[in-house]
Symmetry: C2
């Protein structure tokens, strides 16, 4: 029926750059590779595509295994296909990035998988081409956050404007003027004030939520 028989087949993996906002910085979830090659080296979260799932479904499954989360903002980033990118065997890797609220993240799973959050500005050396993947994801997120309210995926339900600003600064990697930031956010109409007050600062700050 098909004429494909003579063509080669490949292992296809999915790697996920999972981002969370933690301690005022954009963080990415990494773990120690549990198998050879590069066993014990630091790696993005990943796994192999199975025959009974689409590539998108594979990415969702892997994310759920490592975080316990469903219904997460996740986008395909790029495919890495160099012959020797994995020194063990040839693996073509399709990379996704996800934005999660770290409050919802299941800490028990992080224990099981040896996973930890690392500040994107102090990223250790990861195995293979995984550092490239993270940097590329960050560039895409930087562009996206200028036009879309993707911060809603990273913020807690209620947050102060200062915290939201620190998210933007951490993603963009540049300081932002407080007054300009507040004006541009209020013009965009993504968020709304609540009656709640954050009392961790002396004066207290209005808590906002995404619409």
């Amino acid at each position: 029926m098909t004429a494909y028989k003579s063509y080669p087949k490949f292992f296809v993996s999915v790697d996920c750059a999972i981002f969370g906002f933690k301690d005022g910085h954009l963080n990415v979830l990494i773990h120690q590779r549990p198998y050879e090659p590069a066993k014990g080296e630091l790696s993005l979260i990943g796994g192999f595509v199975q025959t009974d799932e689409s590539v998108d479904a594979s990415a969702k499954r892997i994310l759920k295994e490592f975080t316990g989360l469903d219904n997460v903002y996740m986008q395909q980033l790029a495919t890495y296909g160099e012959i020797e990118r994995d020194p063990g065997e040839r693996v073509i890797s399709i990379v996704y990035y996800a934005l999660i609220n770290v409050d919802n993240y299941d800490e028990r799973l992080s224990k099981i998988h040896n996973a930890k959050w690392v500040d994107i500005d102090n990223l250790p050396t990861l195995c293979f081409d995984h550092n490239d993947m993270v940097q590329k994801a960050r560039r895409v997120i930087s562009e996206t956050i200028k036009n879309e309210p993707i911060g809603s995926n990273l913020m807690p339900q209620y947050f102060t404007l200062s915290l939201l600003q620190s998210l933007y600064e951490s993603i963009l990697g540049t300081p932002i003027d407080k007054r300009n930031f507040r004006r541009s956010i209020s013009e965009k109409d993504y968020i709304q004030a609540t009656n709640l007050i954050d009392r961790t600062s002396r004066r207290g700050a209005t808590l906002y939520k995404f619409k």
Copy 2:
């Protein structure tokens, strides 16, 4: 050495959305699929990744086979991984888009491969998910041309400003004011006037080239 043995392998193809500027419109190169499934249906240019080439190299090889061209502007677009996207067998497809100067294109190869140019605004139904691929590529090209001189890949060596404007209009799918277009192009400093005059219009128009 590796723990991958138990994972499945997949056919991996590359599909190329090859764009050219022809008769005042953005066109894409399609052909009739030469093998089952969907033999005879219209399709983007494609082929299978081989073991001795990276995915990028595979895309370049396929482009060269169908157009005779090397050193072409080509970018990875996305990977399509639905289980049933190819009704014959499961194939994961990595899509690239390329921008070529149709004057350099080898017409003999188009005969051999049954290839033809079609206006992107009158795209016929293509096999599988190929129409989605073309639309996605067009969106990316639209965004890119606002900030980068990628028109240089599509234009003939010498061109009038009216022709360049029609390229932008065809890519963006919207009319552009002539004076605003000329100002914005000249501010960007991508192109330079030559001494040559295009004589196909009565008055004659200055010919430009990309720097």
